[in-house]
Structure formats: C-alpha cells, structure tokens
C-alpha cells in the first residue's frame, strides 16, 4: 500500500520520503531522562501502523511531538514529504492516552466544538457531530452531559472528537484501553474504514492480539529508539526462534530437541522454543521416533513473544 521513494539527503544518510507521515531521528530529553533517542516512524497514506513498546519507551512523547505538543531537541517530522506545518497539525485527529473531554459539555456540542477548532464551519461541524455521534453509537445521547456517560461511552465520544473533521492522519494513543468488545469492534471497523479512505492511522496498544489483527505494519520501540519495523508476519519470520508444538496421541515422552527450551503446556502437549536455524524435518522425524502424535506444528512465535524478544534484546 505504501508509495514512496528513496532519496539521498547527504552522503551515507538516507531516509525514506513517502506520502503520509515521516518522523526521522526524533530526540528529546527531559532533564537527565532521554525520552527519544533518534526514533523513526513512518506511516504511509492508507496505512495502519501499530506503534508498540513497553511503558516509557517514548510512544506518547512521539505522538505529542507529531501533534506539536512537545518541542523536540532534534529530528524532523514531515507530511507528504514537506515539514509538518501548523495547518497539517490542525488536521490531525488525536486521541490522547489520558483522554480529554469537558465533563460539563454536551456530547453533540463537544464533538462540534472540536470540529470548529479543526476548521469546520458552524453548520458543517454540527452535521459532522451528529454523524459521528451516531457512528460511535451515541446518536440518542447527543444532548447528555459528558459527565453523565460511562467511561466506555466517554471513550466513544473521544473517538468521535478525533474523527469529526475526518482527518487524513489519525494518531491514537491506547485507543482500545477500557473498551468493551462491542466498542472494540466498532473502533476497529472505523479505523479500517478510514484507512480504506486513504487516511494514515498510527495507534499504540498493549493488546497485541488486536494489533496483530489490525495493523498493516508495526513499529516497535524501546528506550526511545526504533527497534524493528515491518508487518506482523515479517517480524514473526525474523524471529531467531521457532515454536515446536506436539499433541501426543498417547503417553507424553520425556524427549526434548537439542538446544530447545520447554514451555508450559497442558497435559499431553509439548511446546518447545527452538532456534530458527533448526531443521524442522529432522525435528518432526525425531518426535515421531519418540512417540505417536495427533498433530505437530513448527512455526514462528506469536507477536507477543516477538515483542518480548525485541524489547529484551
């Protein structure tokens, strides 16, 4: 989906300039604390990027820097190949981690108010507010005060606030935190629709199963640095380990492959972490010699394991 080209900035220093968002070499210190240490992030047009990292990795600081809320010590942020302008930033739809709504405003007028600040006309903002209130399932609560809503419904309003001006770039910090399954499904659908419409979406989350299902590409960061970038399947493939899972049809043997680590598994099932360089055919043959099995699989680890491997490294 990503369109782009590689250009030479200076000898030995190449960056990818693409349609959409490009953050390169971001650095930021808060006193002695290094929050960002040359972090890179790219989100192409019509691309949904999962932005992952442990707590304190620099995700929120990066998102705030994209919004212009945090002044950077170094690095560049560009949109469609040009430095991010004030007008570009006003067009961003943002959902902060801590959320942020006026408790004593009504649902409809709050959504419309942010639409006005984002540049919509009074009538346009009112129309879009109605549309998005309906879309996030709060059409019948437009006149309710925000403080009268449940936490989950307040998050729906927060999403509508981020979407009211139908931005070309959506920055969502932990958008799924605290949502019920219905709201998660709604949010996932909305994000997919925006991406299908050509918007760029970057979101952070600790719910890796959701990230795995939704994101076209992942950027995993820790200690203010970008560790890896790629699709879920690419990152899994790049893992230095594989998982060998055997469901025995009979007594479970005490056998373990060479250089393997036995993982917790239910009775009658053996799960081993083995080096990616292992010969899968040989492992299956060895297992067949040790006992009979109902099924056997050899595959890259899941995203959660990949994430832990990368962060630990």
């Amino acid at each position: 989906m990503q369109r782009g080209c590689t250009v030479s900035i200076s000898p030995g220093d190449e960056i990818l300039i693409s349609d959409g968002l490009s953050a390169h070499g971001l650095s930021k210190r808060f006193g002695d604390l290094v929050a960002l240490d040359g972090l890179d992030l790219t989100v192409g047009r019509g691309q949904l990027v999962g932005f992952l990292g442990p707590n304190g990795a620099g995700k929120t600081t990066t998102m705030r820097a994209i919004l212009g809320l945090t002044a950077l010590d170094g690095g560049t942020i560009s949109w469609d190949g040009a430095p991010m302008s004030v007008e570009n930033r006003r067009d961003i739809g943002y959902m902060p981690q801590d959320r942020g709504l006026y408790p004593r405003m009504r649902v409809g007028e709050h959504i419309a108010y942010i639409g006005r600040l984002a540049g919509l006309s009074r009538e346009g903002a009112a129309d879009k507010a109605r549309h998005w209130a309906e879309r996030v399932g709060l059409g019948d609560r437009e006149n309710d005060l925000i403080q009268e809503l449940s936490t989950g419904n307040q998050q729906r309003v927060q999403l509508a606030v981020a979407l009211v001006h139908e931005p070309t770039l959506l920055v969502l910090d932990e958008p799924f935190a605290g949502l019920d399954p219905v709201a998660v499904a709604m949010l996932s659908t909305v994000m997919a629709e925006r991406v299908a419409g050509g918007a760029s979406v970057v979101f952070s989350s600790h719910q890796l199963d959701l990230v795995q299902d939704l994101a076209d590409e992942l950027t995993i960061v820790s200690d203010g640095k970008t560790r890896v970038t790629g699709s879920t399947s690419e990152l899994r493939r790049r893992s230095p380990t594989r998982l060998l899972r055997i469901e025995w049809d009979g007594p479970e043997p005490s056998w373990a492959p060479e250089n393997a680590t036995r993982l917790d598994a239910p009775p009658g099932v053996s799960v081993f972490r083995v080096p990616a360089s292992s010969d899968s055919a040989r492992l299956i043959a060895e297992a067949a010699r040790e006992g009979t099995f109902a099924s056997i699989s050899y595959e890259p680890p899941g995203l959660e394991d990949v994430f832990l491997e990368i962060v630990a490294s």
């Binding site: 919004l67 959320r99 709504l101």
Partner: protein, 401 residues
Amino acid sequence: MNGPNLVFEVAYRELRTHARTTAFKAITAFLVAAAIVGPVVVALWPDEDGARQVSIGLADGADRSLEETIVALAQGGLDVEFVPLSGRSQADTEAALASGDIDVIVDAPDTLVWDSQVDAPLAAILGAALQQRALLVRGEAYDLSENDVRQLLTPVDIADRIVDMTESSDFILAIAALGLFAGFLIPQVFGQLTLVSVVEEKSTGVVEVLLGHIHPRTLLLGKVLGLTLLAIGQILVFLAGLGAAMFATDSIDVSGSVWSFVPVLAVSLIGGLVFFNTLFALLGSLISRQEDASQVILPVVAPLMVGFIVGQLAIGGRADTTIIRVLTFVPPITPMLLPIRVARDAVAPWEVAAALSLLVLASWAMIRAAARVYEFTLLHSGSRVSWKKAWGFVRARPGSE
C-alpha cells in the same frame, strides 16, 4: 478558521458553558433580586426624620396661639402633639418629662423646660415660634398688623453654591462604593472561575486535544475574553435590575456628572477583569490540581486587600492623600481607587488618563507574559511550577523547552 475566529470560538464556549451552570444562574438571580429589592425596601422604609413625634406640654403661662405657629414651622420635620398642663402640679409635669411622655414644656412666654438635655431641632422650632410671637407683640407697638410682621419675617430663598466638590453627591459616592466592592470582589470571583477552568482542562487532559488544533495563546485569549464577557454580562444584568428599581421608586437623580463618571468606572472594571482573569489563568497553568489553588492565589489577593482597605479610606473623604494618589497608578488597584477619586472629584484629568493607560498596558503585558508561561506549563502535570521557573518561561523564547 483564522486566529481571531478561533479566539471567539473558545470565548463562546466558555461563555455558554459557564453561563448555564446552576451556580452562575443562582448567583445572578440573587444579585438581580438584591438589586431590585434593595431600593424598594429603602423607598418603603418609614422616613424616621419626617415621622418623629414630639409632645409639647403647654403650661398655664404659655400662649395657646403658639400652637398654630409651631405646627407651621414643624411641618415636614416633626409630628407635633400638644399637651395642656393646666391644673397639673410641677412635680407631675416634671415626672412626665422624665418618663418621656412629654419632650418639652413651654412655660410662660419665653421659657422652655427640658428633662436632661436640649433637643436642638425641637428647640430651634420652638425658639423661632416664640421669637415670631414676640415680634408680633412688638409690631403692635409700631402699628404694624400681624400680616405686616409676617411679611417682614418671610425668609429669603437662599441658593446653594458648593465650592468644595470633594463632598460629592450621595448617589455618585454610592456608585463609587459599589464600584469599590465590585473592583474587589468581581476580579476574585471571575479570576478564580478562570483558574478553575484552566485546571479542569489540565486535569481532564482535554488541553492536549485542544492544543492539537489551536495555539496556547489562542486558548488563553479565548478563555479570558469569554469569562470577561460573562462578568460584564452579570454586572449589566445587576445594574439593569438596580436601575429599574431605582427609577421605579423614584430614588435616582441622574445628574450630568454621573455620565462622566460611568465611563471611568466601566473602563476600570473591564481593565481589572482582563488583568486579573489573565493573571488567574496563568496561575492555573502552574498547578495541576484544584487543591493547590490556594498556594498560588494568596499572593495575588494581597494587593486586592490593600486596594479595598485604601478604597474605604478614600470613600471616607481622604481621596486626595499622597498614598492614595500613588496607589491609583498601581494597575491591580486602579479599578478600585480611580472611580472613588473621580466621584470625590479628587483627581486631575491627566491622572485619570495616565492610570487607565497604565491599566491597559499592564493588562496587555499580563496577556503577553501569561501566553509565554501557558506554552510551557499547560501540559505540565504533577507538582506546582515554581515562581522562579514561571519567570524563566516569561523570558524564554517560545518553543525553546
């Protein structure tokens, strides 16, 4: 939308959101009720001076024809009752004096008997009546009729011309006193409303969403404008109620000098509101929790207290002292002192112009300083930002943190 439109959008939200709170509606309703009820109650209250009743005892020697003269002279001032004392003993009449049943005894042609002290207004009326009676008697000796004597005694109309205007009209002084109270109270009430609004935006995190779309300066200006307009609206509603009640009860006498005084009061109040609303917005940006508000508010309330105390001295007639003259030029205090000095006519035109100019300049400087601090502190959470650090932000280049 451009910058000014965004400021108005923010201001409109502030105005609308705060104006519909129950607390604001209740306070406004109370103020309007007080404005209407106050003049009505004063108008309906019995006029004690006009209604004072006195009992005048007439001894045997007193001329009964005095009654008519006394009543004529006391008209509008005293409600006179005459008590004939013929046949009563001296002890009895003195006991009536002591008990207060009788205020004074007219004894013989030219003697007034009092209990323990002379009642000056009553003595003046009785004295004038006795003098008149005596002159009528003397006039007869010169063949002058009673009518001739009365014509000679008809008082000449005396016009008043006041040279020392420091004793201004009660009405203007009352408005100035109201202005002092307003200049003391309103900046605090609406300033704290501004502070609470800023802290709410920080604590709920909504400021992060807002700053994604608008500049901190725009947010500050919109907030100050909205809450200043809200305050002006409340003041106007109060004054409308007060004016209507005063006109209805015929207890207002708007002279030409009022219209030269009102603009000074209005500019002072609006300038004070802008100055303090901006200052309180700055203070709100230094803290993250409502509980910390008192730490930053206390140092600001001190000059307001000074202004209020000094303002009371000015109302009391010391509007021309050096200390009051100097303090009039201190912007946070100007809104309280300047209207009083104008009401007392104790200020030169250049002083009015200079004080108001300084107030406008100070408000402008406060907006500039607060906008700088705002840029650095709006996203700050946790402990209070120190005064030293805040001053550093005022001097820092925007976006340099």
